[in-house]
């Protein structure tokens, strides 16, 4: 009696080396994922996923990625200058974010993590809004319903359940919108994400789970979260999963659009794993030299999503210098607006502490607010010798 290489209906019992080895899980090359644009910018076809974009649309994606990267870089600088308390850079993930964000319709609803600055851009969220929480003037604070873009969520994985519930509501309403829920490779380990898969499957909710596998959860490589590619998890919950080259904006767009269509046509959830790389530090307080090699980063620099699309545009003659210059100028203008905007961002009033604890009021909050106002006022009358 023994377990052969294949259990009934299950996956092959992989050898320890194969299932846990770094190379397999992390390569991301080859036929294992959907790719429409090679790192060299060559257009390739895929049997199932296709895009047919106008030159203008292609240039639009390029512009989105460049502006997003510029905004992100500016935020890193602003953090260094002390204007922000923290920043979580998306560097390297522009294709994953712009491709998926541009796949959404206006009536779709997006649930981000804390790093989806590029997705926010595609949803017309003012970049300045994103900075408030990193500056420490609020904990989010934009109106999620204005652009159907939910607040950033810091507790890992939680938002996948909110997205699923929202999608259940969409289905109840009989609407044909879809919901797009972002999460990371690290987040894939959280019980909440598994519960979201279960609820989405059981209620056939129109939600697409979009995992940006940037291969790191702070200092932990993806092998600390899973010994098989994350997209494979979906099958076990009864819905399709697919891995896409996350640095290929065309492939991400094609796959996400298909997944959203799948969801909105009543076929239920789908999981997309965008295989990409976090080029920067986890956040501005992180020091990646402690846990990963320069070579790895260099290797991924060669797969840069923006350079890749530019190579394609140039190869096909779809963009000229004037276009690049214009995007450059737009970037500069954006950076300037962000810089000035953040510097002019006022600190909240102390009384804001009490402002939105409750929608319908709470007697204790009222009492504490009144006492605190009194206490604050007491300083105005006195000039305490002890510096009190």
């Amino acid at each position: 009696m023994s377990v052969k290489s294949t259990a009934v209906g299950g996956s092959p019992a992989k050898s320890r080396a194969a299932s846990r080895g770094r190379s397999k899980n992390r390569s991301g090359d080859g036929p294992e994922f959907v790719q429409l644009l090679t790192p060299e910018g060559e257009r390739v076809e895929h049997s199932e996923y296709a895009v047919d974009l106008t030159p203008q649309e292609l240039r639009g994606l390029y512009r989105d990625m460049v502006l997003t990267r510029r905004f992100d870089g500016e935020a890193v600088t602003l953090q260094r200058q002390g204007e922000l308390g923290l920043w979580a850079s998306l560097l390297g993930q522009e294709a994953a974010q712009i491709g998926s964000g541009r796949a959404t319709r206006h009536d779709d609803y997006v649930f981000p993590t804390y790093r989806e600055h590029g997705v926010a851009w595609t949803r017309d969220v003012d970049p300045l809004n994103l900075l408030g929480m990193f500056r420490g003037v609020n904990n989010g604070g934009w109106d999620p319903n204005e652009n159907n873009f939910h607040l950033y969520t810091i507790v890992i994985g939680s938002q996948t359940l909110h997205a699923t519930g929202y999608a259940m509501g969409v289905a109840k309403d009989g609407a044909d919108s879809a919901v797009l829920a972002y999460f990371g490779d690290g987040a894939s380990s959280q019980g909440d994400v598994a519960e979201a898969f279960t609820f989405a499957a059981v209620y056939n909710a129109p939600v697409v789970f979009f995992c940006q596998n940037n291969q790191w959860a702070i200092s932990e490589p993806t092998e600390r979260q899973s010994r098989v590619p994350i997209y494979q998890r979906a099958a076990g919950y009864g819905f399709p999963g697919v891995r896409v080259d996350g640095n290929d904006v065309l492939a991400v767009l094609a796959v996400t659009r298909a997944a959203l269509d799948h969801a909105r046509s009543g076929q239920g959830p789908m999981l997309v794993e965008a295989f990409t790389y976090r080029m920067g530090a986890h956040t501005t307080t992180d020091d990646p030299t402690r846990y990963r090699s320069d070579e790895e980063r260099e290797e991924w620099a060669g797969k840069d999503p923006i350079a890749r699309l530019k190579a394609y545009l140039d190869r096909e003659g779809l963009a000229d210098e004037a276009f690049y210059a214009e995007v450059g100028a737009e970037s500069d203008a954006l950076a300037k607006r962000v810089r000035e905007g953040v510097r002019g961002m006022p600190d909240p009033e102390p009384m804001a502490i009490f402002e939105h604890a409750y929608a319908d009021g709470h007697a204790l909050v009222d009492e504490e607010r009144a006492r605190f106002a009194e206490y604050q006022a007491s300083f105005e009358d006195t000039t305490a010798g002890t510096g009190r």
Binding site: N138, N139, G140, G141, W142, D143, P144, N145, H150, L151, T153, V155, S158, T160, L161, H162, A163, T164, G165, Y166, A167, M168, G169, V170, K172, D173, G191, D192, E195, A196, T198, F199, V202, E355, H356, A357, Y358, A359, D360, H362, A363, L364, V365
Partner: protein, 328 residues
């Protein structure tokens, strides 16, 4: 008894209240484990799925974090989910979603979104159940800003407070005194209810105030009756709400009686009694003729059923505290 008033057990009052909410507002949903065909393990949702359909009365997967997490999403979409947690001890898998998401999301959005989610939790002991079926975790939620916590003690409050909780735009945890489910009382479905968070004097008295909520109100009323035979006049305040707490009503009572004993099933250590004792002592320092005493659970896991009578505050333990307070 006029036509709008009927006598029914608390369980029935809750059922009728849910029915009315489902009837009044198409956005109200009921969701939880076994709330559908079974009608919930306590039958509080009995017959609702039959009448309102599977899309409004929803049997969920066995995952409490999932229940609350998806309820949040449904609320964001404009629904008003009324969730059921099967027993007190099973709310903890959802604790993260309740404390870090549900409680904080309105503030996180600077008020731009609302989270009208109700979490119904049958709580407390006294039904001879196995582990995790008899706990009183209310203090673990009341410490957290963004939540409102209430607990009715009688059928009329059960009916109306649940209506009000569902209408509230904030998340409300609705603790149901499970061992009182079968206690009957008059429910007036036409009465205009008072403030959800206001305490009421359930029995007036002059010598000492007993403050309690949920299942312990009955014990306190019984204690007051016994004490009356002994010539002592105890006032009983039914707190009804644990966040906020109506300190004004308690203070007014204490300033009449001069003494306060707080009674709850939950462990005393870091429990609601401490908060009430501290605040009332601060407010009424010169009126108190004795320290505020507390009667409640011990600092030990809820014991097996054959010990719960000893563990739970009963008449004797309440009156013992009354004696001690009066002897001060």
């Amino acid at each position: 008894m006029d036509r709008t008033t009927r006598t029914m057990p608390i369980a029935k009052a809750l059922n009728e209240s849910l029915r009315k909410a489902l009837d009044d507002d198409p956005k109200v949903l009921v969701m939880g484990e076994d709330v559908g065909k079974l009608g919930g393990v306590f039958r509080i949702t009995d017959g609702l799925q039959k009448d309102f359909g599977e899309s409004r009365v929803i049997d969920t997967p066995l995952a409490e974090s999932g229940i609350i997490g998806t309820a949040i999403g449904l609320a964001l979409r404009g629904y008003r989910p009324v969730t059921e947690i099967q027993f007190d001890g099973f709310v903890f898998p959802a604790y993260d979603q309740i404390v870090t998401q549900l409680a904080k999301m309105h503030a996180r959005a600077l008020g731009k979104i609302k989270l009208p989610v109700v979490i119904r939790i049958p709580y407390g002991g006294g039904i001879g159940a196995v582990e995790h079926h008899s706990e009183s975790p209310e203090a673990l939620f009341a410490h957290v800003a963004g939540l409102k916590i209430v607990s009715p003690s009688n059928a009329n409050d059960a009916y109306w407070m649940l209506q009000q909780a569902i209408q509230c735009d904030d998340p409300v945890i609705f603790f149901e005194p499970k061992r009182r489910y079968w206690d009957k009382g008059e429910v007036d479905v036409a009465a205009v209810p008072g403030d959800l968070h206001k305490a009421v004097v359930a029995r007036p008295g002059t010598d000492l105030t007993l403050a309690a909520y949920g299942p312990m109100v009955k014990v306190c009323l019984e204690a007051a009756a016994v004490a009356a035979e002994e010539g002592r006049s105890l006032e009983v305040v039914d707190l009804r709400s644990l966040s906020p707490i109506d300190f004004d009503t308690v203070q007014a009572s204490v300033e009449r009686t001069g003494r306060l004993v707080v009674v709850h099933e939950a462990p005393v250590f870091y429990g609601a009694g401490g908060e009430i004792a501290a605040r009332i002592t601060e407010r009424s320092f010169y009126h108190l003729e004795a320290p505020v005493l507390r009667v409640g659970g011990f600092h030990a896991p809820y014991p097996p059923a054959r010990l719960e009578e000893e563990y739970l505050p009963g008449l004797d333990r309440v009156l013992d505290a009354v004696d001690r307070a009066l002897a001060f």
